[in-house]
């Protein structure tokens, strides 16, 4: 068996204490929130830490709460608890549905949403959907709290804007309006998605005109990506937008700039963006309006 290098586990009782521990151990320490990504990298000796700070021992960080017009998911809520949460299923079904297909049942039982975002693995399903939904990450460090949009916190592959002493405490997701339809689709042949695509559209009362659109593609490049040009091409009467889907997909692919890797060539991924944008568009317009 591949043994892990030895480390010490620390159990903070508050976010403040966790931040102090992180500051104290510096590069020798890392936040630990489930380990479904971190421990794999440590097993392969790609990352070495002498100290892990188990943020799960801080009480209350796993809460899932509804606020006025948003859903607040504590950073150490497991994927499974999000998938099964009646609140998430009712208020933000697209989030529950996306979560149901993250990795496998074992990863969902132990992996956490905050860990997923904080590790910034490029094939993250939640990161792609959360960027489309306009979610914000709440970060808390020794000196205070701040809030970052998803494309501000995830800055590259395995790279975040988290300061060394900062802890991601929650993800706040605005609830889509009644007129909005949200879809997340992915294409996967191995253990991680080749492509994830989220599409949120605002449809007028007639159901025939898209007044606002946001498309995000993930997994094809280091971080989830969107494009103003693509979103603009997705707005207008349904028939017109249908004709513009190829151009919108091209704009999105240009913005994402897919990379060649074991999941496929850049050219193949560009093709997939076209296929999945069309599927998402068709599904978004076919799905019934949400009844909150």
């Amino acid at each position: 068996m591949m043994p892990l290098r030895r480390f010490q586990m620390h159990q903070p009782k508050s976010v403040k204490e966790a931040a102090e521990m992180l500051a104290h151990y510096g590069e020798k320490g890392r936040l630990y929130a489930g380990g479904t990504e971190l421990l794999l990298a440590m097993k392969h000796d790609l990352l070495r830490y002498e100290h892990l700070v188990d943020v799960k021992t801080v009480p209350g960080l796993d809460k899932i709460e509804a606020q006025n017009s948003s859903l607040r998911i504590g950073s150490v809520a497991t994927h499974r608890s999000i998938e099964k949460s009646p609140l998430v299923k009712e208020r933000l079904p697209v989030m529950a549905e996306m979560t149901r297909y993250i990795a496998n049942v074992r990863v969902r039982a132990t992996g956490t949403l905050g860990g997923n975002i904080g590790f910034a693995e490029p094939h993250s399903d939640p990161a792609t959907l959360l960027l489309a939904l306009g979610a914000k990450a709440t970060l808390q460090g020794q000196t205070g709290e701040r809030s970052l949009a998803m494309n501000e916190i995830i800055v590259g592959a395995y790279e975040t804007a988290l300061a060394p002493d900062e802890i991601l405490t929650a993800i706040e997701i605005p609830l889509p309006a009644r007129s909005q339809r949200a879809i997340y689709l992915k294409f996967q042949i191995h253990e991680r998605p080749v492509l994830g695509l989220a599409l949120i559209v605002d449809v007028d009362a007639s159901g025939n005109t898209i007044t606002k659109a946001k498309a995000v593609v993930g997994a094809v490049s280091p971080a989830p990506c969107r494009s103003d040009k693509a979103d603009a091409l997705l707005v207008g009467p349904k028939d017109k937008v249908e004709k513009q889907l190829t151009d919108a997909a091209r704009a999105l692919a240009d913005a994402a700039d897919p990379v060649d890797d074991l999941e496929g060539s850049a050219e193949y991924k560009r093709h997939l963006i076209g296929v999945y944008l069309r599927r998402a568009f068709t599904q978004a317009l076919a799905s019934p309006l949400r009844n909150p």
Binding site: M1, F7, T36, L40, V105, R106
Partner: protein, 158 residues
């Protein structure tokens, strides 16, 4: 660190390192070699055990995580007189394994599924078992065995 947990219904108290995985603890320190280790990266499911009723990858889950919890391994399924659990029996009856290396993990994942969803559809089984890889059977007999075990379990509860 001193670790206390329930293992197959019995209390265990054992000394371990923070970096020990649950699979290392089970296989190397507790001599429970029914838990198999294959991919080591939470992908194949061979090392699946149940913690608090939920399936986890013991190859990568830290033993630290099972403190004060209930752990069930493949050794904990048969009755003391040797009568196999209905899922184990169904795997034999339906030829749901050849080499058997994935089988303990398959059976434990199936147990978690049936505890949560006693009457799963074929799609439910396929979705839940998606992360348990078998290179022998082609999966069809595994899905069938799980559905038959569901029937047997339902009958035994009547």
């Amino acid at each position: 660190m001193r670790l206390c947990f329930q293992l197959n219904g019995r209390p265990v108290e054992i000394e371990c390192e923070a970096a020990d995985t649950l699979a290392e603890l089970l296989r190397n320190h507790l001599n429970l070699t029914g838990t198999k280790v294959s991919c080591e990266v939470q992908v194949c499911g061979a090392c699946t055990v149940l913690v608090g009723g939920l399936p986890v990858s013991s190859c990568t889950l830290l033993a630290y995580e099972v403190r004060d919890k209930n752990v069930v391994t493949i050794e904990g399924l048969a009755q003391p007189d040797g009568t196999l659990h209905p899922i184990q029996q169904a795997f034999i009856d339906d030829f749901a394994f050849q080499c058997g290396f994935c089988t303990p993990g398959m059976i434990l994942a199936a147990k978690a599924l049936l505890d949560e969803n006693p009457k799963p559809s074929e799609d439910d089984v396929i979705h839940y078992m998606d992360g348990n890889i078998c290179r022998c059977t082609g999966y069809v007999p595994i899905v069938r065995a799980i559905q038959k075990a569901a029937e047997t379990l339902k009958e035994s509860k009547k």
